[in-house]
């Protein structure tokens, strides 16, 4: 049994911490598999719905999964189905070619090797160097863990939503510059 399948097996006993660790190990490959849908569906919706369905499968279904990285392969299939459901809900328009999306070729997706402590330390160090409000905005949003909308977070800092978002954009750019100074290029952080 692979490491990720062992984590999922532990989650089957109702252990949410093992499930969280499993999610962390399959999150990037699932996200990568959904890029072809990115113009038509909100991938964050697909990710969260996929994980909720996998949790139900882990805790309420006795269905066994066979083969190497079976839980990742199942999660990829669930994500594809959720994306198709979202595609059907999406309103075509704005020149989004929905037809080709489902037919795009599948590609091999490997499990994630796991956390990168060096990258995490570099990010933490660079965040500490971001000045004032941009740092506060970035830290508040990152620590909110998807539990609160940006409008609430902005209000907590006494900012309007647009100003809050502008501070995050500035913080990202500072972070990107700092990481570049350490020889680290994190795609998307500074664009």
């Amino acid at each position: 049994m692979t490491e990720i399948d062992a984590l999922f097996a532990t989650a089957r006993s109702g252990d949410p911490m093992a499930f969280a660790e499993w999610m962390g190990r399959v999150e990037r490959p699932i996200h990568a598999s959904l890029v072809r849908f990115a113009r038509a569906v909100d991938i964050e919706v697909v990710m969260q719905e996929t994980f909720l369905r996998m949790w139900l499968m882990a805790t309420r279904s006795g269905r066994g999964l066979q083969g190497e990285n079976a839980t990742l392969r199942m999660a990829l299939a669930v994500a594809r189905n959720v994306a198709r459901e979202e595609l059907r809900r999406a309103k075509p328009g704005r020149d989004i070619p929905l037809e080709g999306m489902e037919d795009a070729p599948e590609f091999a997706v490997e499990p994630d090797p796991g956390p990168d402590p060096g990258l995490a330390r570099a990010i933490q160090d660079c965040i500490e160097r971001i000045p004032g409000r941009p740092r506060a905005a970035l830290e508040l949003r990152a620590s909110a863990g998807g539990a609160r909308p940006d409008r609430d977070l902005a209000g907590q800092l006494g900012l309007k939503l647009n100003t809050f978002l502008q501070h995050i954009v500035r913080a990202r750019k500072s972070l990107a510059d700092c990481l570049a100074g350490k020889g680290i290029e994190l795609a998307g952080v500074g664009s």
């Binding site: 999610m23 962390g24 113009r39 964050e44 990010i123 990152a142 940006d150 795609a187 998307g188």
Partner: protein, 71 residues
């Protein structure tokens, strides 16, 4: 809101739910032009990495959002 701020607004892992519990797309995502949605993917990945770096267990915002629903 211009595209740069719409992009940033769509990066958050926070998503509203409807009365049935269905997770709803970000309003900012719905307003983004298709080309900007490609850029959004990279920005989301980068922000998930920032969230992992700042969380004591290394959880991304997506993982945290799901954990808040199941635990």
């Amino acid at each position: 809101m211009d595209d740069a701020l719409l992009l940033e607004a769509a990066v958050t892992p926070f998503r509203e739910r409807d009365q049935t519990g269905r997770i709803l797309p970000s309003p900012a995502f719905m307003d983004l032009p298709p080309a900007a949605r490609d850029e959004l993917v990279a920005r989301q990945l980068a922000f998930r990495e920032i969230e992992r770096a700042m969380h004591r267990f290394g959880w991304s915002g997506t993982v945290q959002a799901v954990m808040s629903r199941i635990s």
